[in-house]
Amino acid sequence: MQQLWLIPCLPLVGFLLLVLGHGRCSRSVARLVGVGSVAMAALVTLWVALDFYSPGAAQSYQVQLWPWFSAGTLEVSFGLYLDGLSLSMLFVITGVGSLIHWYASGYMWQDPDYQRFFAYMNLFVAAMLMLVLADNLVLLFLGWEGVGLCSFLLIGFWHQDPANGYAARKAFVVTRVGDTAFAIGLFLLFRELGTLDLPTIMALAPEQFVMGANRPTLIAALLLAGAVGKSAQLPLHTWLPDAMAGPTPVSALIHAATMVTAGVYLIARTHEVFLQAPDVLLAVAFIGLFTLLISGFTALNQTDIKRVLAYSTMSQIGYMFFALGVGAWNESVFHLMTHALFKALLFMTAGSIILAMHHEQDIRSMGGLRRQLPVPFWCFVIGSACLVALPPTSGFFSKEAILNASWQLPGYGPWLWLGGVLGAFITAIYSFRLLFMVFFGPQKAQPHEPKGWQFHPPLIILAALSLVAGWFVLPTAPVLPASPAGHPPTWTIVVAITMPLLGIGIAYQVYVRHQWQGLRFAQWQKLRQFLFQGWGFDGLYKGLLLTPFTALAQVNRNDIIDGLPKLLIQLSRFLHGLFSQLQNGQLRFYIATLASAAIIVLALALKVL
């Protein structure tokens, strides 16, 4: 595993090449460098995996590349740490990442800023790889901030439209709130344990912390706040739907498969700290549950195809948080992997549809596309089936395990299980609503499928992977604590399986056969509006935070704090004006000044005497 350092290095080199060659290289070269760097990183990942899986290989591998800085007792170095968890994340990032890059090389071909796009994408992949491979929390934070930056750059990629810039700023500022909490959590963690090296923390945490005490609870809560911000959970979720302003491959890579899963990775990585704070774990579960339900209900009402998928992502990550909270650690990471596969598939398919419909994103203008766009149709079906967790797909296995573990949680278990099942129900309804509205029904416009060999192969590969991924076992078992063993009663499993089917049935009735229209609550305009706007969180934040802040900024328009240096300047100018009047060129005035000065000096001298 000596070649581990290549994995984050290759996309970084790609980024540097694209930046240095900006304006000088052609599209083909940019495509080669951009896609090739991530593809080579994927190949190296496979090589590393072969090493990892070979018999007699160590379970974890830590390498120190070079020291970064040391301050007092804190010594931080650039180091990489590979174990089952980071290997799983590597699969996801490089595998799905290279497929998305391949797709994007065709999707963005017409764009004039092609090279800049791939530069940013490569930088993002490099930062994300740094995040998952870091062996200490400071380096992880570096990757964390790096992906935040690239998210900002890529959301606002088409910066000529100020709305895109606004969405990018919103994403950055909201995640910043979480990042600040994360940083404070790091400070406290260092103060408690004296180190920020991950393997050391995982060893020290159970010994140094008392379970349920204030300190681990506070640290875990702050780390949770950071994860909540990056993964777009309640209450820091408002940025994700607006982040759909970026190009579709960006939405697929960053806001479905990788960056938003960084929060889940963080909690999984520092699980020992969270295990010492069971209250925070319960909070994780509840946050996941509420996000799941709220975003699910909101997705029911959306009309933009990408926003439906964005809310769906929020909801599914809520599932992952839910799983972490109830103790199904391995299942959560498994769900992370499968979700990455099918969500990327769904987003890329949506991208193909959007391109075919000439950049139309409103699903009310689409219909009956299954005949004209067969490959996107079947891929979307497979993706939706995984999303809804129909039996043979990979999503089924992960969701089943999560719900089983939630039932067994002492205390709130059955309530959480009920919430999870309700979430599955809603998921089925909104995802098949989307499917039916886009692909079934009367055709409203004529699609033109984009030509190019980059469009279909990645979709097909991802569809195949999401079908069979359920039979893979991720190597996270030695790393993460085991999920609760034991089986819940059989009726729970039956209910859990039938609810999605019920949801599909309802969606079919309403949107294909146009029966039961009363269920659409057409006359309840206020409710629909409320749900449409994401349960009013945007409005809440605007009233609570934005408006007072902009009012304060308006009051401080002349920059009162700056008044003190300005006062200095004004004083200096005033004195200058005063003193320059002393130089009026009048000889007699000068003589009088001389006499006065002589008087003063004499007076001083004589008083001294």
């Binding site: 009088a592 006499a595 006065s596 002589a598 008087i599 004499l602 007076a603 001298a605 004589l606 005497l609």
Partner: protein, 184 residues
């Protein structure tokens, strides 16, 4: 005994004449009147010098100061053609309120000088000692011969400077051209 009184009378009379002449001098409108008062002031000052035992200084005062410098002033006054017109100017330039501030400043300065003079202890009892001209001459040709040489330098440079500055310009030049020539 009467010599002591005579000494006092002459001394204080000269002081009074000097002060009075100076006051009158600085307040005249007519330049020649002012110069005449200045001559009177220097002559009485010469008397004081003599009474202080400095005969050589008294002679110098009369010959060089009252004799040469004042005559130089008189010549310049004649050249500047200051007549009735300029007397009117002077009257205009000397309003009564213009005297206040300088008088105040000078009074303060004087009081400070007097305080300085009369504060502290004198080093030894002192009185008027006459210094003979012979002693002054020996000092000038002895230890202080450099002062004489430096004085001659000064006078030479003053001579040349005055000569250059006040030379006659060609009369067809205008005042602007005169300025240009002066800069060169």
């Amino acid at each position: 005994m009467i010599w002591a009184y005579l000494y006092n009378i002459v001394f204080y009379a000269s002081c009074g004449v000097t002060v009075l002449a100076t006051i009158l001098m600085i307040s005249r409108h007519n330049a020649v009147h002012a110069l005449l008062y200045l001559i009177i002031s220097s002559l009485s000052l010469a008397i004081i010098f003599y009474l202080l035992g400095a005969a050589f200084a008294a002679a110098l005062e009369v010959i060089v100061y009252a004799g040469a410098v004042m005559i130089l002033f008189v010549f310049v006054v004649m050249m500047l053609n200051q007549g009735q017109r300029s007397a009117a100017h002077e009257a205009a330039w000397l309003p009564a309120r213009g005297w206040i501030l300088p008088s105040v400043l000078a009074a303060i300065l004087l009081s400070l000088l007097l305080i300085g003079m009369y504060s502290g202890q004198p080093l030894q009892p002192y009185g008027v000692h006459g210094v003979a001209v012979k002693d002054v001459g020996i000092a000038l040709f002895g230890p202080y011969v450099l002062v004489v040489e430096l004085a001659s330098f000064l006078l030479l440079s003053g001579l040349i400077g005055a000569f250059h500055i006040a030379r006659k310009m060609p009369s067809h030049m205008s005042s602007n051209e005169l300025e240009e020539v002066d800069h060169g």
